[in-house]
């Protein structure tokens, strides 16, 4: 509206009555500050500066490669979990599912000589099926997704361990690298690309791609609109003809699909799968999403924010190692980050929704 600030005072008098009816449009700077991911961006910069200055390893090519890889695996899941949270739901089974998908491919290929690509397709189908079950249980019963997915989390945790032990006699699957086609799969899911001297693993590119696609879907497509509406005010959304149930089921399937991707990335990176893989990480995903600006009550958040939340977590995880601090500080840091983020979100919610 106003091209330059001084012009306002000059024209204020003649425009007085008009300006009272049509106040100036929101200043671009204010609009930027209103974005949900702005807090996470500031925090990520601070963490980056902190560990760059107190450790020498953090900014070395090897160091950068390490924290980027760490962030990418959490980031893919955090972005998917963020979409789900914006849609008003949680998925506690997401961590265990990254293990389930990898273990399934491992068992099928090493124990039963199934073609690796077929095994991966089957694993994806199983993951999407599990996501659909989570979603259907939530939307048909109306139970909180927290309880439903807590149930599936424990079921998967139990199955991952019991079935792996039953079939292989141990709690890990090894010898994946001898499987036919493993090397081809590794190019897609477990290789490295040298960028400006930094060995960047392919998972980082997957992370970027997932974040970009999620952002596009959220902000520029009809399903994205429905995700915000389904989480923000489900009954209003239904009144306006938004397919709330279908949207939520799709979100659970998306989270499960992301878990499959992370399962594959881990499998092809190290060629072994632990039966306990992914357990305990479900809360990290949620924390990353919340740090990235997602409201626990749904209807608000961003994919870029969740990706930044994961970057903060990855940098801190490796930074603490480089700084040779006691590893337990990570947990304390994580808790403090979560509380800080929730307080910021509470403020946002009050400011935006006070008249609702």
């Amino acid at each position: 509206m106003t091209r330059a600030a001084p012009a306002v005072s000059e024209t204020a008098a003649p425009l007085g009555p008009v300006a009272a009816v049509v106040p100036a449009a929101t200043h671009p700077f204010v609009a930027v500050l209103r974005r949900p991911e702005i807090g996470a961006l500031a925090a990520a910069l601070m963490i980056f500066v902190l560990f760059s200055s107190i450790t020498t390893a953090f900014l070395t090519p090897a160091g950068i490669g390490t924290w980027l890889y760490s962030s990418s695996l959490f980031g893919i899941m955090a972005v998917a979990v963020a979409l789900l949270m914006i849609g008003g739901e949680f998925d506690l089974s997401a961590g265990a599912m990254t293990g389930t998908t990898g273990l399934l491919v491992g068992v099928l290929t090493t124990q039963w000589q199934v073609n690796i690509w077929l095994a991966m397709a089957l694993s994806l189908a199983v993951a999407l099926g599990l996501g659909a079950i989570n979603g259907l249980l939530v939307v048909t019963t109306g139970l909180p997704s927290f309880i439903v997915t807590l149930g599936t989390f424990f079921i998967l945790q139990g199955i991952n361990l019991a079935v792996t032990k039953l079939i292989t006699g141990s709690v890990a699957i090894q010898g994946m690298s001898a499987v036919d086609g493993f090397d081809t799969g590794k190019i897609l899911f477990g290789s490295r690309v040298s960028l400006l001297g930094v060995e960047v693993k392919t998972s980082v590119f997957w992370w970027l791609a997932v974040t970009l696609i999620a952002t596009w879907v959220l902000l520029r497509t009809r399903p994205g609109n429905w995700i915000f509406a389904a989480g923000g005010a489900p009954s209003s959304a239904r009144q306006m003809g938004v397919p709330v149930a279908r949207t939520k089921i799709s979100l659970f399937m998306t989270t499960a699909g992301a878990a499959w991707l992370v399962g594959m990335l881990q499998l092809f990176d190290v060629s072994t799968v632990q039966a306990t893989s992914g357990i305990g990480q479900e809360f990290v995903y949620i924390i990353c999403a919340v740090v990235g600006g997602c409201l626990l009550t749904g209807g608000y958040g961003s994919a870029v924010g969740a990706a930044l939340g994961a970057l903060i977590y990855g940098m801190t995880l490796q930074g603490i190692v480089f700084a040779q601090w006691d590893n337990n500080w990570l947990k304390a840091f994580l808790g403090a980050m979560l509380l800080g983020a929730v307080l910021v979100n509470l403020y946002v919610r009050k400011r935006l929704g006070s008249r609702s």
Binding site: V21, V22, T221, F228, S236
Partner: protein, 271 residues
Amino acid sequence: MSGATPPRPGSAGTPLIEARGVGRSYGSIVALHDVSARVLAGEVLCVLGDNGAGKSTLISILSGAQPHGSGEFLVDGQPTRLSSPREARDHGIATVYQDLAVVPLMSVWRNFFLGSELTVGHGPLRRLDVARMRSVASAELARMGIQLRDLEQPIGTLSGGERQSVAIARAVYFGARVVILDEPTAALGVKQAGIVLRDIARARDRGLGVVFVTHNPHHAYPVGDTFLLLGRGEMLGTYARGEITVEELTRLMAGGSELDDLTRELGRHPS
């Protein structure tokens, strides 16, 4: 109908919707009995009544939320039985409920098009036509006389009256010929209620039929063309604007002589 008496400007002969002696009972309880009403294009029908007068039952019949039990219901002169709000919407009858069906944290333009988003492109590249949605929303709101600073702001940050205006503008844009407003001014202050009354007048001037449900005669009187009074599920009377004053309306709503008795009872008695 006849050349000698031209219809009043805005009203086009056949009522958009008409109820003839409609009623509705739940088990042995009669919620509404023998009520008749006509909604004409370019006119405001005010439905007045105290709590429990049968206003909600009448609205639910007009809006398609539940079918009428007895009597006749006509849309464009044709007997119709509405079985869902969606069916009512297809007939151009839109209801704006008190919760307004908005998502507070979403922007004004996203709320305006929620569930009916405009898109461009095909397949995976099918995307929201943000520019067009913003310009349409802005133009439609302007036609209702609403000027917003910023269409990007969450609708939850608007005042109650402004949100009501957006909901009405949205109903009109998506093809409503009749807008039913359920107590739109009930929770609002004087200034905000004024905004809504202005919206009602604008909708009327654009040739829509408006059903304005309220228990406040002072809100109904300035915009109403016809006043339908309900009490205990029955029709207490229908009055054209010129036939009644706001004082009489208030008195009738409160049950006529009951209010006189109450006034006497509450007055100061010497000794």
